[in-house]
Amino acid sequence: MDAVQDSVLNRAIGVFIMVDTQTVPAPARAPGGSLGQPWKDPKAVPFIKLEGVSKSYGDILAVNRVDLSIHKGELFALLGASGCGKSTLLRILAGLEVPTEGRVFIDGVDMAGMPPYRRPTNMMFQSYALFPHMTVEQNIAFGLKQEQAPRARIVERVAAVLDLVQMGAFARRKPHQLSGGQRQRVALARSLVKEPKVLLLDEPLGALDKKLREQTQFELVNIQERVGVTFVVVTHDQEEAMTMSSRIGVMNAGRIEQVGTPAEIYEYPHSRYVADFIGTANLLEGIVQTHAADTVVVQCPDMPSAVAVSQVGAVPAGASVTVMIRPEKMTMGRDRPTGEVNAAPGRVRDIAYLGDISIYHVQLDSGKVMEVAQTNLRHTAEQRVTWEDVVWVGWHPANAVVLTQ
């Protein structure tokens, strides 16, 4: 089954491209090539542009003054906890919600007052929203029928996308006769069949089990790279967002906290919220003592001595900040580390063995518990550090980030 799914989508992509050469605009990212980073080019014109978009339901502000630019051919992920407004933002792009304030442009056209049935977007719904009284074939043909496409073209397109998702054998089935994975593929086919300029996906892989989800993630990326459609994906799963997207917008309480590539978001979060939401982070509260050319010295009550962090950019002395260090960027050993590193002694309280790595919870003398990830280079039996051992944890100044928010 898994292998089938895998090869299905792969083959299907081929069909999709073959059929669509006349109609689909040239992909922004050549197959196998790279999109580049158009968001870094100030002259690049964004394909989707949101300006000060807000949406309120009574007193509740679901989306709060969001400015966002998404470029052609991107796979952009909106990431956030449930209720952060990411789905509302997607529905605003689809035209299913009307923003209370702000403007939305897609391909240079102002979307104000444009109903969903006239937008160049198609959406894959979280619940798949397959029409229960129609067969798979009729579901997929629905969109083409609305634009009064000639019969021959409908037949040809439906067959092509059915082939793409390898569901040809199920064309005459009703949705309730399909498994969850099959429904997901039909929903994907239905959203692709009209060749939209923008494909909106709302938690597209939520209902799939882990293994199928991981495969489908890569397949979606493949489709996206090869057909050049701009994807906007809503997800609450940070792993999904990290593996799939060209850029991520992290949302919190209706605002976009940070936009960046997966690596930027992970390595250089702008705020405590982002640092905490993406991956695991050790957070140390403190007050800025001095700020030299490229090093900030922070006095943290939890640490025995001041913490040095390599940081470019001004942080005024006296400001209260948070120092963030990722667990895998820390070292741990019996002896005090030498050189220009921040270090503190502590006691091992907990060890989680994960196979490739182990996670150690080390309690500092102040009571603060630090999470340290260590690659298991040697067999477990030979590893010396165990429960209640006294160890030194440390990290290089370049491996921490000072968060001012």
Binding site: G95, T121, P132
Partner: protein, 269 residues
């Protein structure tokens, strides 16, 4: 132990069924009675069915009742669908609560009040605009629609509010205009409830004696009216035969509708 318990359970079940259906079973049995006396069995015969088919008055009334019930059911379902869509899809408009209360009020209104009120209205209207002329099948139909629509609305509204809204959004997203979405997506999905509402309205109309007594005129007596007046002069076994036919027709209808709905329900999952 198990045998004893199941025996007791079966006895209770049998009693329950007997309580509900023994009267109807007796009615069916006595419809095949030879005797003119309804309560004395004197042998099997189908002669009352024969006499029933020769009784033009009852046949006319039955045909009229069926016609009224049919038109009533169609009208009630049409209006109820509109009301249900307004109630479920337009969540916030001024006077929604009032609208909801007014639509469903006939559910709890005593029939005798509804009957009297509609009669007064018809009389007043005839004075004012000259329509409807007197009491007839038309006035009965209109009166029936006003009260059976409330029941139909409740049935359709409950199905519509269970329907997944994203189906309509998906259709719109794929390029269908709102009206088209309604006819191609919404209506087929709530179709089972339309059928159920139709059958309910049909039965309510066929069943009604009180309202019809108020608003029917000479020559437009419905079947329940004819039966009721003939029973007052003494129960004829013809009525048993007629009732048996009705029970048969209704049973078949309900079974068919039930099967249809079950199939649609499972398809809707």
């Amino acid at each position: 132990m198990v045998g004893k318990r199941s025996l007791a359970l079966f006895a209770v079940l049998g009693f329950g069924y007997a309580f509900l259906y023994l009267p109807i079973v007796l009615l069916v049995i006595f419809s095949f009675n030879e005797s003119r006396l309804v309560t004395v069995w004197s042998g099997f015969s189908t002669k009352w069915y024969g006499e029933l088919l020769g009784n033009q008055k009852i046949l006319d009334a039955a045909w009229l009742s069926l016609k009224i019930a049919f038109v009533n059911a169609c009208g009630a379902v049409f209006l109820a669908t509109l009301a249900a869509v307004v109630i479920v899809r337009f969540r916030s408009f001024r006077g929604r609560t009032l609208f909801l209360a007014l639509v469903t009020a006939p559910l709890v209104m005593p029939e005798i009040i509804t009957g009297l009120a509609t009669l007064l209205m018809f009389v007043a209207m005839e004075h004012a605009v000259g329509w409807p002329e007197g009491r007839s099948a038309t006035t009965v139909t209109i009166a029936h629609i006003t009260f059976s629509m409330a029941f139909a609305t409740v049935v359709i509204q409950s199905r519509l509010s269970q329907m997944d809204r994203t189906l309509e959004e998906a259709a719109m997203d794929l390029g269908a205009r709102p009206l088209k979405v309604f006819f191609v997506i919404t209506l087929p999905i709530i179709a089972p409830s339309l059928l159920a509402a139709w059958l309910l309205a049909f039965t309510l109309s066929l069943d009604d004696l009180v309202i019809a007594s108020f608003v029917s005129g000479p020559g437009s007596s419905t079947l329940p009216q004819v039966i009721f007046s003939s029973v007052r002069l003494g129960v004829s076994p013809q009525i048993n035969a007629l009732a048996t036919i009705f029970v048969g027709v209704v049973t078949v209808g309900i079974l068919l509708a039930g099967r249809l709905m079950n199939r649609n329900e499972s398809a809707g999952r």
